[in-house]
Amino acid sequence: MTQELDFHELQSLAAEILGIDPNEIQLDKSFQRDLAADSLDLVELIAAVEDKYDVELSEETLEGMKSIRDLWVFLEEKQKSKAEA
């Protein structure tokens, strides 16, 4: 059975790391371009996302994502394949 992911949880996780309001974390935003995340922030974000969602996320993958939507889609797909397995 598939468990729905809660976007609010990703919002608060990323907001905590970036020190911003959770509402600023939106699907069409980019961590680097819109939310001033530097390379150190991204490394911290990766560790937090990996721990929370039990996935592996490389720096290259995250850096290649154009927006938070790409990360969200990535997490949903991982969730789906985990449910199917």
Partner: protein, 410 residues
């Protein structure tokens, strides 16, 4: 060299007036350790900075990404600049430099990330570990946060670190490299490893049942220092520059001397040979005769060896006058800020001169016969002192002495 601003984030107050009232009323900042579970430690007491709101001084992201000792330093530095009515962003970037020392650095952050490494692997080490742990970062982050773009570094000499910071900062202004310096120290070492390590060398008091009575310099029943934490920062300024802009001048840093004991990694020289030379050098550089010193804010950590050695050193430097001047250890109240101690105590000395009141040595009930000077026991004392001295000594045998003069009316 004028002192035109003071900032404190300490166990006995987080603003000048609270710190001052604690000092004159003999308030102890020592209590049970709450920063971590110390229940199986031989020493379970320390002087913690309570309820410090780092986000009052910086944005949340900055606060998250710097070590606790740096958070303290930013708060103290910003308060000191505000007190001095100085904004480095409105000055030439080279005009204001920063020396903020730490004896140890981001210990809590090192320990946390070492645990993450052992428990969860290398990829769980925070990418901010390096900037959080290095001992120079307070100076760096204060420059970023205040716009002070002049000479910038930290001096590491254990518990003498910020005594050296202030002394060297004064020399920097004197030689013309800047017109003002943000100078002080910061420390945050109430951590499992640091406390355990100091317990292993039997340096800290184990008077766990009476935390407020634990730090008792020169008392026969003293049994070691008490760990503190926090930051104190001074704004030093070229005298003419301060005069021209009409700044309030608290006091004058008149002389600075430093030396090495050349003796032992942790124990002071029993006769205080290094301390003697540091005090004499500071007096000479200030052009002050020993008889002019009315008050010494001692290093006075409340250790068996250190208190006796410092007393002997004072007697060697001052002769009969040692019995006429007043000596106190404000560590009896704020405990030992390690790399922040020299600045904390220089700040206390400056306020004592300005306000004509000498802070006491609290918990001095039965004076050690080997420590036979006037230590201002238990109660503050009114005294119009013109010239004072502040001593700071550190593991490794580093000694730093400052001579500080009261500001005379024009």
């Amino acid at each position: 060299m004028a002192v035109t601003g003071l900032g404190f984030v300490t166990p006995i107050g987080q603003d000048i007036e609270t710190v001052w009232s604690s000092l004159v009323e003999g308030v102890s900042g020592v209590g049970p350790i709450t920063r971590f579970d110390a229940s199986d430690y031989a020493c379970r007491i320390a002087a913690e900075v309570k309820d410090y709101d780092a986000e009052r001084f910086m944005d949340r992201k900055t606060a998250r990404h710097i070590g606790r000792y740096c958070q303290f330093a930013v708060g103290a530095a910003k308060m000191a600049l505000e007190d001095a009515e100085m904004d480095p962003r409105k000055m030439d970037p080279d005009d204001v430099g920063v020396i903020i020392s730490s004896g140890i650095g981001g210990m809590e952050e090192i320990e946390r990330n070492h645990s993450a490494l052992l428990e969860r692997g290398v990829r769980r080490i925070s990418p901010f570990t390096v900037p959080m742990m290095i001992a120079d970062m307070a100076a760096g982050i204060v420059a970023m946060q205040t716009g002070a773009g002049g000479l910038n570094y930290a001096i590491v000499s254990a518990c003498a670190s910020s005594g050296h910071a202030i002394g060297e900062a004064a020399e920097i202004i004197k030689r013309g490299d800047s017109v003002a310096m943000i100078a002080g120290g910061a420390e945050a070492t109430i951590t499992p490893l640091t406390m355990g390590a100091f317990i292993q060398i039997k340096a800290v008091s184990e008077r766990n049942d009476e935390p407020e009575r634990a730090c008792r310099p020169w008392d026969v029943d003293r049994d070691g220092f008490v760990m503190g934490e926090g930051s104190a920062v001074l704004i030093l300024e070229d005298w003419e520059h301060a005069r021209k802009r009409g700044a309030h001048v608290y006091a004058e840093i008149a002389g600075y001397g430093g030396s090495a004991d050349m003796y032992h990694v942790t124990a002071p020289h029993p006769e205080g040979h290094g301390a003697i030379r540091a005090m004499r050098k500071a007096l000479t550089k200030a052009g002050v005769e020993p008889e002019e010193i009315g008050y010494i804010n001692a290093h006075g950590t409340s250790t068996k060896l250190g208190d006796v050695a410092e007393t002997r050193a004072i007697k060697a430097v001052f002769g009969d006058h040692a019995y006429k001047l007043a000596v106190s250890s404000t560590k009896s109240m704020h405990a030992h800020l390690l790399g922040g101690a020299g600045a904390m105590e220089a700040g206390a000395t400056i306020l004592a001169l300005e306000r004509g009141v000498l802070p006491p040595t609290i918990n001095l009930d039965n004076q050690d016969p080997e420590c036979d000077l006037d230590y201002v026991p238990n109660h503050s004392r009114k005294a119009d002192v013109k010239v004072a001295m502040s001593n700071s000594f550190g593991f490794g045998g580093h000694n730093a002495t400052l001579v500080i003069k009261k500001t005379e009316p024009n």
